[in-house]
Every structure is written in structure tokens, then in C-alpha cells.
């Protein structure tokens, strides 16, 4: 099963849910930190040494002796990463998504592709958890190719995978959610939490993915998130109370299920609820 933990609003507790859930499964699990702009799952897991792989995307290179300036490459590129105006095309690698289309449409085969580094993927182990995380290089804006690289390193033969998504509802989140069997949307009971939850719900409905909601810091705001879930028939998978001890454990980089074993059953219940929702 591939379970994605997502949210509209940032800072609602995606990583908290992901790492604690990974810990209580009790069997081998792959935890993929897809928030490649600021991966943080590793802060809560005392892993062994990480192996690192460099990830790049293919960027066009133009052979001046073959190019006749026809402009087919530039007309094809919807990201305007290649400009042609008669002479040798200019390439804006920071805009390139690495799709390879310009090389394919070039009638004179003047375009080849060179690897352009965008970040790294790191893999490390902590007991039952294989942690795979992406780290986007500073100044790079193109997260989806790195997220796909993280997901391509799903540990082989591991039946259970947890994807820790970036916040929001844009391309990096879509890249994370593709291929998931279920999405847990983490929110908080505040007007902001509800507003962004509604956006996230629209997104997962568009993607036709089964989903449920986790309310973090329950008891801290109002009851509008609960009313919304009730009205829309959205399963409420778990409520994590607004408990100062949780925040303290978090700030020390500890897992809730280890610092406060009383909460173990919460995450076990979450795991079971999701399992039941998927099988029914």
C-alpha cells in the first residue's frame, strides 16, 4: 500500500503523522520525504549513515553547425526555456522541465541533452524504516523531477510506503500523490486550516484518490473543520489533541510514540482505519 500524507496548509503536522505512523507499523516500511524544498523527516529518525545520489534533469544543448534557426524547438517549448530567433537558440536552463521535447521536434537533430544537477536523493535506515529523502539544490525551482526521483527509489519488496508530501496543492504535491492508494489530509481546527483543507479536498477529488482527514491540535480552535467533514461525509481518521507535551517532544526532535507512549494507540488506530477504508 502507498499512503500519502498531505495538507493544504503548511505546518499542520504532516511529518509528525508520517514519522510516527511509520514507527508504529511494526513492519518494514519505506518513508519517502517528498518535501524536497525542506525535508525534515530525518530530524525525527535516528538513522544510520545515508547514501547519496545526485539527480539531474536533461537540458538541451544545441550544435551550432547543425542548427538553421527554424525555431521549431522554441515554438514547442511551453515553458519558454529555449529561444530561437534565426541564430543559435538561447537556453534558459532554470526554466527547463527536462521533457526532451525540443530535441525530438528538431528536424535537423541539432539538439542533444546534457545532465543538469537539481539536487540529491539520500537513503538511510532506522530499524524498520527505510528513509528516502530528496534535497533540492538552493536556487533550483523545479521540485517535481526530484520528487519523481525520490519515488523511483521506493525500496524493492517493501509492501508499505508512506509518502510525506509538501504542503499546498501545486505541482510538487501532485507529483507526490500520483500513484498513491490513499491520502491522509492533515489539518488543524482553525479558519486557515479549514480554508486550505477545502483546497486539498478539491485536489484529491480531482485526482480521484480515496482520502480521509487527520485533525491535529484538536481542541485548540473551533469546530468548523469537524462540521465540514461531517457535512461532506469525509472520514475523520484521527484527532491529535492540542497537548503541550507533544510540542515539546517535537521541538526536541523526538517521536511522539516514543516520548509519550500513551499516544501509540492513536497512530495504531489511524493505521487500522486507513487499512479498513482501503479494503472496503
Amino acid at each position: 500500500m502507498i499512503l500519502a500524507i498531505a495538507s493544504g496548509k503548511g505546518g499542520t503536522g504532516k511529518t509528525t503523522v508520517a514519522v510516527n505512523l511509520a514507527r508504529v507499523t511494526g513492519f518494514t516500511v519505506g518513508l519517502m520525504d517528498c518535501d524536497v524544498e525542506e525535508p525534515n523527516a530525518h530530524l525525527f529518525l535516528k538513522t544510520g549513515p545515508a547514501s547519496q545520489e545526485i539527480v539531474g534533469i536533461p537540458i538541451p544543448q544545441v550544435d551550432e553547425t547543425l542548427c538553421n534557426g527554424c525555431g521549431d524547438c522554441s515554438r514547442f517549448c511551453r515553458f519558454h526555456a529555449i529561444a530561437s530567433f534565426g541564430g543559435k537558440p538561447l537556453i534558459f536552463s532554470e526554466l527547463c522541465h527536462g521533457c526532451g521535447g525540443c530535441a525530438r521536434v528538431c528536424p535537423r537533430l541539432a539538439i542533444s541533452e546534457a545532465n543538469h544537477r537539481i539536487g540529491v536523493v539520500e537513503t538511510a535506515q532506522m530499524e524498520n524504516i527505510t528513509l528516502v529523502q530528496g534535497r533540492l539544490d538552493v536556487g533550483v525551482a523545479m521540485a517535481p523531477p526530484l520528487i519523481r526521483a525520490v519515488k523511483a527509489r521506493l525500496p524493492k519488496g517493501v509492501p508499505t510506503v508512506i509518502l510525506d508530501a509538501p504542503p499546498g496543492t501545486s505541482c510538487p504535491v501532485i507529483a507526490t500523490l500520483q500513484g498513491a492508494d490513499f491520502v491522509a489530509l492533515v489539518t488543524e481546527p482553525t479558519p486557515f486550516g479549514l480554508h486550505d483543507l477545502e483546497l486539498a479536498v478539491d485536489m484529491v477529488r480531482e485526482l480521484r484518490l480515496p482520502f480521509g482527514v487527520v485533525v491535529n491540535r484538536a481542541g485548540s480552535g473551533d469546530d468548523r473543520v469537524h462540521a465540514y467533514c461531517n457535512e461532506k461525509n469525509i472520514p475523520l481518521l484521527l484527532e491529535i489533541p492540542d497537548d503541550r507535551r507533544i510540542a515539546e517532544a517535537y521541538s526536541r526532535g523526538e517521536l511522539i510514540v516514543e516520548a509519550l507512549p500513551g499516544y501509540r494507540c492513536h497512530f495504531e488506530k489511524l493505521w487500522n482505519s486507513i487499512g479498513e477504508l482501503i479494503t472496503t
Binding site: 519558454h80 534565426g86 538561447l90 534558459f92
Partner: protein
Amino acid sequence: MKIAFSTSGDDLNAALDSRFGRAPKFLVYDLDNGTFAVVDNRQNLDAAQGAGIQSAETVARLGVGAIVTGHCGPKAFRVLKAAGIKVYNSNAATVTEALEHFKAGKLVEAGSADVEGHWA
């Protein structure tokens, strides 16, 4: 020589648009015979990215030697420079006014972009 002006209108009395990449239109004026033509650039108004690059490519393909506009960002400037097109920044209200400034030699050729991308 032909010279392009960023504009939102259809004639010489139209306003000079302060944006280059996302200018709605370009008025191309032919200094040799005093005629002009207007080219639509609306496809770039809503571009998610690369509007300046695409606009620079458009004016390059029009065969102009210079562009007069309010502001020009770094990516557009790189394309215009590679295409050998001179860039003149102007805060003139209309195309006519900018053209007169150009003819009178009051405009100074820009040596670099004068704004960051996505400035407006």
C-alpha cells in the same frame, strides 16, 4: 531601421506600455518610410513563465533594430542582446512621445536589464 514600442493600443497616440514581456502589443515603426504596423502579443500576457523571452523572440523575428519600452527584465534582455537589438527604456506617455525622444537622441541605450523578472 525598424523600431518596436511596447503598447496597449493600435496607433501612434496609444500609451507606451511600461511592461516589455507582458505588453499586450508591439507597434513596429519603420524609420525609413514613416509607416507602422501593430503586432499582437496577447499570447504572452497570461504565460506562466518566460513571457519576456517569448516577447523578445517575437520582436527579434520582426526584424527590428531597437525596442523602446518602460522596463526590461534580465531574461528578455539576454535574448534581445543576443539578437543584436538595442534596448531603450522610456517613461514617455505615448508611442509618439517616445518616438520623438528617440529621433531627438534623448533616449540612452540600456546596458543591462533595469528590473528583475516578474517586477510588475
